[in-house]
Symmetry: C2
Subunit: 303 residues, 2 copies
């Protein structure tokens, strides 16, 4: 175990011992205590206060997507290793006997499971685009979403959960409107993290694209400045953790899902708030008891 992994394991153990997270026996899958949830809820309301003047449309989706919509998204080309498909038993009595026998013998019983029409949501904004298919007004749209998200990346890093919550604002509009909106949120996000007393830095970033072609996709994404992140040290100052991300998708989703503005494929962008990561950054920076945090931090976070 390297120095970074040791620091991650140490913080995870502290969170278990303080009762803030509950061990479920799988890396990256944890229960949350009342105190942990209260930090998440306070940060959620903080986001709402900052975002409210823009008058966003609230939409809430369950943490699954229509598999056909997901196949269209390109996610399986770019990040297949992170996706989660949902499989169910669709057999008869005889197939059920085979399932139970495999289970009781401790064998792999997945042969009895078949892929269903739904997959797990990898990021809060994915269900929004298919829902906006059609012609949108010239000034575009602004949508507020919040969802549990799944990424298959088991890790002892408490800040790299397999199931975590993401609040997002999603902007659909013309190119300049989306770019300016993203740039405005970069300033707002920075101010929020500073008000919370976090040691925040802006970083040009890229998605964890898969394989050989992935390297090129990552380089292109950085070159075009399509993704920025705000990073904060949680278990390491050398490898700080992304807590907010600011993405400009150009016309990708507008084209794939048929969202039109003034005769063109709409451009889209989003700002995503990693809810657990912000909570963990606060707990690591200011201590495991929110009642003992500096007054100015509790004041900024709100009740």
């Amino acid at each position: 175990m390297g120095q970074l992994e040791e620091a991650q394991q140490k913080f995870l153990t502290e969170l278990f011992e303080a009762g803030l997270l509950i061990d479920c026996g799988v890396p990256g899958v944890y229960g949350r205590s009342a105190v942990f949830e209260s930090v998440i809820e306070r940060f959620d309301r903080y986001i709402t206060r900052i975002g409210a003047p823009d008058n966003p449309t609230l939409m809430r989706f369950p943490p699954v997507l229509n598999r056909k919509h997901f196949e269209t998204s390109g996610y399986l080309k770019n990040m297949p290793q992170l996706a989660g498909t949902i499989h169910s038993f669709e057999g008869d009595q005889k197939a059920h006997v085979a399932l139970i026998q495999a289970l009781e013998a401790g064998n792999d019983w997945s042969a009895q499971q078949h892929m269903t029409d739904v997959v797990l949501t990898p990021a809060g904004c994915y269900p929004v685009y298919p829902a906006l298919k059609g012609v949108q007004p010239a000034q575009g749209k602004l949508v507020d979403v919040f969802s549990y998200c799944f990424r298959h990346e088991p890790s002892i890093d408490p800040a790299r959960m397999q199931m975590f919550r993401m609040r997002e604002y999603v902007r659909i509009g013309q190119p300049d409107d989306v770019r300016n909106w993203r740039s405005g949120w970069l300033d707002r996000g920075l101010a929020m993290m500073q008000a919370l007393g976090l040691d925040v830095t802006i970083a040009l970033a890229n998605d964890p694209f898969f394989g050989r072609t992935g390297k090129m996709l990552a380089a292109s994404q950085r070159e075009q400045e399509l993704k920025y992140e705000l990073v904060v040290p949680i278990t390491s100052s050398e490898s700080p953790t992304a807590v907010l991300s600011f993405n400009y998708h150009q016309e990708l989703f507008g084209g794939l899902y048929g969202i039109q503005i003034e005769g063109n494929a709409a451009h889209t962008g989003c700002v995503g708030f990693g809810m657990e990561r912000v909570a963990l950054a606060l707990l690591k920076t200011h201590g495991l008891d929110p009642n003992s945090w500096p007054a100015h931090v509790n004041e900024a976070l709100g009740s």
Copy 2:
């Protein structure tokens, strides 16, 4: 399409047209509007007000379970058709090419997906039992959980979603304590539904057990009065929908997960609130605009 299915389809269409639910192209998977979410949140706070005097311990889990814990639960013996396992791509560059080729040819690409260590949560209380392994105090425990749950039962009935939220209180204790607690919640739940102006009835019930042996399990569950439901007409008066359920598991989960009280396997019980179902019952009974509901209903539900 029978009369019941017609009524279900009609109500679903009304909910889409009113913008309360958002069509995702898969039966039982819907987005929710701000108005719909506000009904869910108000009902959630109503439950908290009624349950607070018992001083429950709040735990929140993501909507997935450790697969090993799930295998232990017996769910795959009893209701395999409803479970959802999560599968991911774990291959190399060559396997990825095969995945993309299958996808582009419109073929089944599930051969590239492998079962992971997690499954979807079928009911809010499942992650609680493994978390309580060990010796519990003589007076037992009371836990408050809330989670999205998955059941693989695609349906046009808006009250039978594949992904829905369940708030639960879970009582772990000695047999009489659990039985009396459940009986107390049956009274409380009935009073709550009446205060909300819903046409509620108590019903002896059983789980949807699979296959031939399932018939016997269902009969035995009813005979021992292990499950009661509160039912309310949503799309049919003849087939009302279960909105709350009250379950006594005897020593089943205490035995399976090693929860001990005074040297014996703990008994457990739970009361579950079907959040979307209560919201739909209110919308169907009082109309699609909560601002126009009777004053006494809005007063009971709270802000």
